[in-house]
């Protein structure tokens, strides 16, 4: 068992087989630096719980194909990324910090899937981005590729 500590001082015990999916922690264990509690100053407990949930589910991922659990895992992944933007970004940052490649892929793909085909207005609103381009600058970019701003698939809804 490996002990992880979130930045709000909560400790979590995780099986070594699960936690080594994090390249960062795997290296620490190999270097003998994981004897006591591993402090994770960048991750709060809420996010860490999510990450651990993922690690535990994916513990035997290599064997999933043999045991026919692939579909189950796929369903778990779909449910797992069903979270708000803020929470998703928290998990992405945690996955990046802990260097968990599969989790990173999953979350970035989910973010991209949500942005896919969205209108400019919808993207800005969903992600709370303030437009800092002038109207002229904006028009110039549109003029360069007007086709990108029209088409039936463009989705202006925010969700």
């Amino acid at each position: 068992m490996v002990k992880l500590k979130s930045n709000d001082d909560k400790e979590f015990e995780v099986e070594e087989a699960a936690v080594i999916q994090s390249e960062m922690i795997k290296n620490m264990i190999e270097d003998g630096c994981a004897t006591s509690v591993i402090p994770l100053p960048n991750i709060d407990s809420k996010t860490l719980i999510k990450v651990i949930e993922y690690l535990n589910k994916h513990i035997n991922m290599g064997k999933a194909a043999e045991t026919g659990e692939e579909d189950d895992l796929k369903e778990f992944d779909e449910q797992f990324v069903n979270m708000g933007w803020e929470e998703l970004f928290d998990v992405i940052m945690a996955a990046n910090y802990l260097n968990i490649h599969e989790l990173m892929e999953l979350c970035c793909q989910s973010a991209a899937d949500r942005l896919k085909n969205k209108s400019v207005r919808a993207v800005r609103e969903m992600l709370k981005i303030t437009n800092d381009l002038t109207e002229e600058e904006e028009q110039e970019i549109i003029n360069d590729a007007p086709w990108a701003f029209e088409g039936p698939e463009i989705d202006d809804t925010v969700n």
């Binding site: 933007w85 970004f89 970035c108 942005l115 400019v120 981005i129 600058e137 904006e138 086709w147």
Partner: protein, 355 residues
């Protein structure tokens, strides 16, 4: 801790990681979301590294008719159906000013930049263009004066990650000797954004079929010996050294040409496993996509098929019949960033339009 996390708090690397997964049209739209995204999408080198990744989620292919490149198509994976439908298509067709579009052959493409040859290979008035069609940009490479003693010219195009340079290669096949075959060819190199003129890089063995087949891997352009089929030569784009590889690696190199990893060799497709009606066709791999399926061109472009190594099954892919297909990685990076300030990059009018 109470402050809200937004996408702007993510590292640029992560933002690129997300944006690079969008379809072409979405990426163009994201340019006007804000200044920071504009720079990320138009000039950040980080984005280039992710191009390769895109090809598995949104593989793009170039379609050509009779060896002439016509369309860029971005494939869309329809989960439920057996077929793929076109997602985007460039319209008007790929064209360049004052060229005969019936005869615009692809020399090669790297990171979304295409090297195109207009005119017949051994024609006096042919020309070579480098273009980024998504941005309607092109650069015409000035060719050295025609030399009559050379009976054929073969072009190659490559990119070196090590030096960040793009180079156009030009093999001048010497006139036939008394046995009727040329012995070797002179190689000339043109570095984009650096060279004013072509440079001579020495004599090299002649390529088989007088073609490179776009074999552009690991920063080197490869070709097969014209007489001994078990020798493959490589030209390192960065060091400009020519090396030979022995024949045992032929399978691997051929596969790598299309971005297919070494695992392919362990994944030999047995003829018995191919459905009867298409068993005797010739298949050319194009790219790997969705969970390791291999997209292949069947029978000189009459059809695309996708092979699933797990199920050992071929599926026909609905794109366009009768076109030749090559893998292509779109670029959102201006050709100006490669050519620098000393070379004039021009724009195609009317601008390329995607519908």
């Amino acid at each position: 801790m109470l402050s809200e996390v937004t996408i702007m708090d993510l590292l640029r690397v992560i933002m690129v990681e997300i944006l690079a997964r969008l379809p072409i049209k979405s990426i163009f739209r994201c340019k006007i979301v804000c200044k920071s995204w504009y720079h990320l999408l138009t000039s950040n080198p980080l984005f280039v590294k992710n191009y390769q990744k895109r090809s598995s989620s949104f593989p793009s292919i170039l379609l050509s008719v009779n060896d002439s490149v016509r369309f860029i198509v971005e494939l869309k994976d329809e989960n439920d159906s057996q077929s793929l439908y076109r997602n985007i298509e460039l319209r008007p067709m790929i064209h360049l000013p004052s060229t005969n579009k019936e005869n615009l052959t692809l020399v090669g493409s790297c990171n979304g930049f295409m090297c195109l040859l207009n005119g017949w290979r051994n024609n006096v008035d042919n020309s070579v263009y480098i273009s980024n069609h998504l941005l309607s940009e092109y650069f015409k490479v000035e060719l050295p004066e025609w030399e009559k003693s050379f009976w054929n010219i073969v072009y190659g195009f490559g990119f070196s990650e090590a030096s960040g340079q793009y180079k156009v290669l030009r093999f001048k096949l010497a006139a036939k000797n008394f046995l009727g075959r040329p012995k070797a060819s002179d190689l000339e190199v043109y570095t984009l954004g650096v060279d004013e003129k072509w440079r001579n890089a020495g004599e090299v063995p002649e390529p088989l079929w007088r073609s490179f087949n776009n074999v552009n891997v690991n920063g080197a352009v490869h070709w097969m010996d014209c007489e001994k089929n078990d020798i493959i030569y490589s030209f390192n784009i960065s060091t400009e050294e020519v090396n030979s590889l022995n024949g045992q690696s032929i399978d691997i190199w051929w596969m790598k040409e299309y971005g297919i990893a070494e695992s392919w060799t362990k994944n030999l497709i047995l003829k018995d496993g191919i459905q009867l009606d298409i068993r005797d066709d010739r298949f050319i791999p194009i790219l790997i996509w969705k969970d390791g399926e291999i997209l292949m061109q069947r029978d000189r472009g009459t059809q695309l098929v996708s092979y699933n190594p797990k199920e050992k099954k071929f599926k026909k892919v609905k794109v366009y019949n009768g076109f030749g297909a090559t893998g292509y990685i779109p670029s959102f990076y201006s050709l100006n960033t490669v050519m620098g300030d000393s070379f004039q990059v021009s724009n195609v009018y009317p601008k390329t339009e995607i519908v």
